[in-house]
Every structure is written in C-alpha cells, then in structure tokens.
C-alpha cells in the first residue's frame, strides 16, 4: 500500500510535519534567504570597511571574509552586475545607493540580533559568531520582537 498522507500530522500540538505546502514554503523561504545571504554579507562588510577606513579594498575584504582575493574579485563582479557596488579595475570598491541601502539594513539587523543575544545572556564571543549566521534568517516580525525585548530591559 503506497499512499501519501500529508494530513497525518496536522494535529495542532505537533511541532513536526506541518501541512506539506506550508512546509515547502518554509524551505523555499530558507533557500531564498540562502541566496541573498552571502551577497548581504559582502555588501555589509564593504559598507563597514568604507565607514571604518574610508575605502574597501579587495585584500581587506578577502582577509575578513576568510577567502582568496580571486574570490573577492569574482564576487565584486557579481555585486556589480546586481547594481550594488561600483568599481573600476585595480581600484577600490564603492557602494551604489542601492548597495548602501542593503548594507544599512543588514547592519541594523546585525546589531539588533547581536544585542538581543547578549541581552538574553549569551557570551560576547558566541553572540558575535551566532549573530553573523542568524541575521539573515530573522524575519521582520521576529526582529521587531527582539528590538522591543532589548528596549524593555532599559
């Protein structure tokens, strides 16, 4: 007997196996986040470097991302195609307005997540690591909840 039973686990209490279509949507959402994740990380880092040092050079991006310069060059090309950065060969890299907006949004997200983790009692070192991974998977709603949580502590 072979038969799909997607309805087998739709009892409200079950934390496992939600409705199949919803489930697929969840994973689709993760995959989507996944695609923009790296892009946002690069753009955010470029923004941070510009803010901290006035320029963003491939060698610094490479060092901080922990990748090779060749990888940075390739990625910058991709960011350029996406209209997020402007760059001329052998020159340092700048953000377009659109890139700046992305960087700013990522930075804000990052800070909220980081502060939230610290607020609930996670150590600084761990909070930094986790924030980097978590920031791209936190919805606007959750971010707002975190923001309020931090605010309520003061």
């Amino acid at each position: 007997m072979r038969r799909s039973n997607d309805d087998a686990a739709s009892e409200p209490g079950g934390d496992l196996l939600p409705d199949a279509a919803d489930h697929a949507r969840q994973y689709a959402s993760v995959r989507r986040a996944h695609e923009t994740e790296l892009i946002e990380d690069y753009v955010e880092l470029i923004g941070d470097l510009l803010a901290a040092e006035g320029e963003a050079r491939a060698v610094d991006i490479a060092r901080r991302m922990g990748v090779r310069q060749a990888t940075v060059t390739k990625m910058v090309g991709r960011l350029s195609e996406l209209g997020l950065v402007k760059s001329l060969p052998y020159r340092s890299i700048f953000l377009t307005d659109q890139g700046q907006a992305v960087a700013e949004r990522s930075r804000k997200r990052h800070v909220v997540v980081l502060q939230f983790l610290r607020a609930i009692g996670v150590s600084d070192a761990t909070a930094r690591i986790d924030a980097e991974g978590l920031e791209h998977h936190v919805s606007d709603e959750t971010l707002e909840v975190m923001r309020r949580f931090i605010a309520d502590l003061q």
Copy 2:
C-alpha cells in the same frame, strides 16, 4: 597611501569590524554551518517522515522540501555516501544510526528554537518559518540559553 589597518576598529564598544582574524573565523563558521544545513534539513525531514508515517519516500520528501524528485534522488545519494541513510533503488529510505543521531539532534534544536521564538512573542506562523532558518546557526551555548529561558517561564 595604501595600508591595511585591521586595528582600526578594535575599540570595545564597536559592534562593527572585529579583529580581522576573528572576523574571518566568524564567516568560516557560517560557511561551515551552511554546508551542513541542507544535509541536516533532509535528514531531519526523513526522520520526521519515518516517525510520522513509518516510511520516507522520495515523492514526499520532494513535496515537503519543495524540490523535484530528481533532486531528492541526487541528495539521497549524497546522504548515502555520507553514511547517513540507507536506500535501495526504487525503495523507500531509512536512516543509519548516524543519520538517526543527526536527525534527533536537529529535531531537538528545532523544537527549542521554535518554542523560544514563541516564548518571546513571535507568532506561530513566523516562528515556524524562522525556526527552520535559524536552527542551524544557533550555537550550543545559545541553545542552552534558550532552553533555560523557556524553562524559567513555567
């Protein structure tokens, strides 16, 4: 004047630009999580299907992951190489002991993150979506903090 200044932003208050080596480690950590993420999702889903329905078939995995059956076949091959699942052609899929361990750990993680999100006031629908994305980026330390947070509410 071209010169790297990794020390430019090491003042304690700065949430941006940590020490370059640490920064690279953070990203490396995210990349590592990234690699295991999908694998864990598949294994966890297979475990959930086995628990809920007694068998895990490619068609159901595909439907729930929101992916084509061909993709599932390929992925199952990969999981098999990794020693996480056992499968014979045209037969349904089972977890090895190692796979079972991975599934269990993922499931526990998932539940803690989900409950935590609900506990801080995130809506159920959003919590489900976010939990899926967040669970792979939460360190053991943060998970423990979340667990305590939930426990303290009771």
